[in-house]
Amino acid sequence: MNKEHLYKYILGIADNSLILGQRLGELCGHGPNLETDIAGTNISLDLFGQSRSYYQYAAKLIGNGATEDSIAMLRNEREYINVLLVEQPNTDFAYTMARQFLFDVYHLLMLQELQKSHDVTLAAIANKSIKEVSYHLRFSSDWVKRLGDGTEESHQKMQDAIDGLWTYTDELFHQTDADKAMVAEGAGVDVKELKDSYYSKVTKVLAEATLETPESKWFQKGGKNGVHTEHLGYLLSDLQYMQRTFPNMEW
């Protein structure tokens, strides 16, 4: 197996969890009530936990003194290859839940395939993560429904959030060269194959939530090639602050 491709492939998955975990972490202590605060922190914790497993694997793979932290915190912005969806800001609770939901549906589908990977480490991490992500999806779907079918105000806010984030959904199914190579090796997930199932699952929940599925066909892409929205730089300056300010220290 081409090591470079495998490394890139791992980062593609890990960066999604890291960046979304970081976004949710910003909200700790600021949720609409204690219960949702705890649940949000829980999801953030799961995502960081998953990203650590992936980065540890990636660090072992490239050696050369790399660690989970050096990979997670010391790359330049153009080297992060998470999808644009997960870096979008916590505009309000509707956006936070819509972002979570639109990612969770994809995440679960992807992990269900990844657990069949010929790469035993990836398969094992996927297997462990499925239980967690099933809960994330249940939680975010419930909130999409609650807000969509709650009050007039919450319905409008949820619809705005879905409309606003819709443009970032198509990128989930783009393939980089590393993705293609990993699919050919039987180690990676062919995300193109997940697309129909994704949109049908999303549409079903939106319908239940009395929300419209956006019809726009204008999509944004670039995250998987390291071309991000303006939001990521700010997120990274927090994430990397300590490692950049105090290089080569143990914490």
């Binding site: 700790c28 914790l45 429904k145 807000l147 105090f246 914490w251």
Partner: protein, 318 residues
């Protein structure tokens, strides 16, 4: 009920407490007992919830993924403590919304220590080590307090707090094993958090208005000054062990008394912070009130959705 009957009940009640029996929510209790417990337990719950904020500052900036996860988990524990302390409070006939109102209006207090800023990573170590350390000293005796729900909640809270305290100390150990910059960061954090931690154990006994009654109800088992002495005696050797200096030139072991003598505490600072004029009182309240107000439409939606669901189920049943 006649005065005599009430007096009778009160006597029986005090006798139960003296026999170390637990008082449960549905048992008869004097109004003052109920009010005192609502005040203390809600103050404790508010402290847990407001206490999430100074540490929450560092979630996005934690220096490693391991530390980030541990910090998140710790703050989540605090939210959990808040949750079951509020629930324990609700057994006394007050709602969580009322308790929040009291916090947001400034009527209810929370621990003053959380009005200090967290400005470096070492503050995460200092808070765990000192603030949680002081909290444990305050709270362990409460595992045997007379009100059942509070005592049971405290057993769990103390277990988790003791884990947090070790985690905080471990952050300090790691810093003290590190570079000169890291050591300086650790010492600076101790310098800033030491005195507020001593104040956290409450005003001196002579000025503590609730102590006597609380002692009787086992809501307090040691005086503030005794707790403070215990905290100092326990913490000084921990500081010395890792090469930190306690920022008190008058600190000295007293062989005769078998404990440390320590310098004067700046009580003016304490009262300034208690009265709402500490470095971050406004920020903490704005954060809490802001989160509550921003969340209103979310909570309303959840209620509306639950009602619609319930109606649908009723219609189906009909």
């Amino acid at each position: 009920m006649s005065e005599e009957q009430i007096k009778d009940l009160e006597e029986q009640f005090e006798a139960r407490i003296a026999r170390d029996e637990k008082i449960e929510p549905k048992d008869w209790m004097p109004e003052k007992y109920r009010k005192t417990h609502i005040r203390q337990m809600s103050q404790h719950a508010h402290s847990e919830v407001v206490g999430m904020l100074p540490e929450g500052n560092w979630i996005t900036r934690a220096p490693s993924l391991r530390r980030k996860v541990a910090l998140l988990a710790k703050i989540q524990d605090e939210a959990g403590h808040g949750l079951y302390l509020y629930s324990a409070c609700e057994t006394l006939g007050i709602s969580r919304d009322e308790l929040y109102d009291q916090l947001h209006s400034g009527k209810a207090k929370y621990s003053s220590i959380f009005n200090y800023p967290t400005i470096t990573w070492a503050d995460m170590g200092a808070i765990g080590w000192l603030v949680d350390g002081a909290a444990i000293i305050n709270q362990v005796p409460l595992c045997n307090t007379s009100f059942g729900p509070y005592a049971r909640a405290m057993v769990r809270v103390c277990k988790e707090e003791s884990f947090h305290q070790r985690q905080g100390y471990e952050i300090m150990i790691k810093l003290m094993q590190g570079t000169p910059e890291q050591k300086e960061m650790a010492q600076d954090a101790l310098n800033r958090w030491w005195w507020p931690s001593l104040m956290m154990l409450g005003p001196i006994d002579a000025e503590s208005v609730h102590t006597e009654q609380s002692m009787k109800w086992k809501l307090k088992r040691k005086s503030n000054d005794e707790l403070r002495q215990q905290f100092i005696d326990q913490t000084v050797p921990q500081a010395e062990l890792i090469g930190l200096t306690i920022p008190d030139p008058d600190l000295k072991w007293n062989d005769e008394k078998g404990c440390y003598d320590f310098g004067a505490i700046d009580w003016d600072e304490f009262w300034q912070v208690v009265k709402g004029h500490g470095p971050c009182n406004k920020e903490r309240m704005n954060a809490r009130v802001g989160a509550w107000e921003r969340g209103e439409w979310v909570r309303d939606a959840a209620v509306a959705y639950a009602e619609k669901k319930a109606n649908k189920n009723i219609n189906k049943a009909v």
